[in-house]
């Protein structure tokens, strides 16, 4: 176990928890990124303002990261374009059918001790683990 990677992980996780908690406590909203993206794309009535603002914050935060610590953002493509496109399609479609992603089900759902969030998180981690094995077997 390399502690040099544990501390940043704990610090980053705390920032994520503080952000999601502040959004909940101060506005009553849930920091689920797939739901936020969905609301922005649909032009969801009454929810559009804060959802656009949160999504914009993520993008601006990315720009701050690029400025302070560019090595935190992926420079080289880890996968070919066809694989990136397939993966994006599955992630966008799957998160909306399943009603959430790593932030909504993973952080906010488990943080509420929601059975739905806990089960969804176990499912996508288990399926993800099997997928990694299958990809290795077929040599991708």
């Amino acid at each position: 176990m390399d502690w040099a990677t544990v501390w940043p992980a704990l610090l980053g996780g705390t920032l994520i928890g503080v952000s999601a908690s502040a959004l909940l406590v101060l506005t009553g909203k849930t920091a689920g990124v797939s739901g936020i993206v969905d609301g922005v794309l649909r032009g969801e009535k009454g929810e559009l303002g804060w959802k656009v603002a949160f999504a914009a914050g993520l993008i601006v935060g990315g720009a701050v990261l690029l400025w302070l610590a560019p090595d935190k953002l992926p420079a080289a493509a880890p996968r070919s374009l066809p694989l990136a496109l397939s993966a994006g399609l599955l992630v966008g479609f799957g998160t909306r059918v399943g009603g959430g992603c790593t932030s909504g089900h993973g952080v906010c759902g488990i943080g509420r001790l929601s059975v739905r969030g806990i089960v969804a998180t176990c499912v996508f981690i288990a399926v993800g683990a099997v997928t990694v094995i299958v990809l290795r077997m077929i040599g991708v």
Partner: protein, 134 residues
């Protein structure tokens, strides 16, 4: 006010993803690689993230926010087929690219064919789900 708070939360969320390297696909795929060279980083990110949220939820659920909105009082517990199907489809895509929706937006700051292609396809996937969910 709500808009300013949401924007600030988005920035802090992005910094958290970056600091913890959840924006780096190989770190995420490494976590899912339980039978290879397993990288537990994601576990150390989820721990404090869930822990802080647990406390906030426990203390403030069902109460009033300074913005005047009432916080949700109960969590969702209903399990249905769509949850399992959707989470499974997401799991496959997540493991192929090592990117989930949060990092997909954060990575826009460093555009390349991978980050832009993934994001565009993800938005298309969300759009496609609207047709199915109706």
């Amino acid at each position: 006010m709500q808009i300013v708070i949401a924007f600030a939360c988005g920035v802090v969320f992005a910094l958290g993803l970056g600091v913890s390297q959840m924006t780096v696909p190989s770190v995420v795929i490494g976590f899912l690689d339980f039978f290879g060279e397993w990288q537990p980083a994601l576990l150390f990110v989820m721990g404090p993230a869930v822990g802080v949220y647990l406390v906030a939820w426990h203390l403030r659920r069902g109460r009033c926010s300074p913005c005047g909105a009432t916080l949700p009082a109960t969590a969702a517990h209903r399990l249905d087929a769509r949850l399992f199907v959707g989470a499974s489809i997401f799991g496959v895509g997540w493991a192929i690219a090592g990117v989930c929706p949060g990092p997909a937006l954060v990575n826009l700051a460093r555009p390349n064919t991978f980050t832009l292609g993934f994001l565009a396809a993800m938005l298309a996937g969300v759009g496609l789900s609207h047709a199915v969910r109706r």
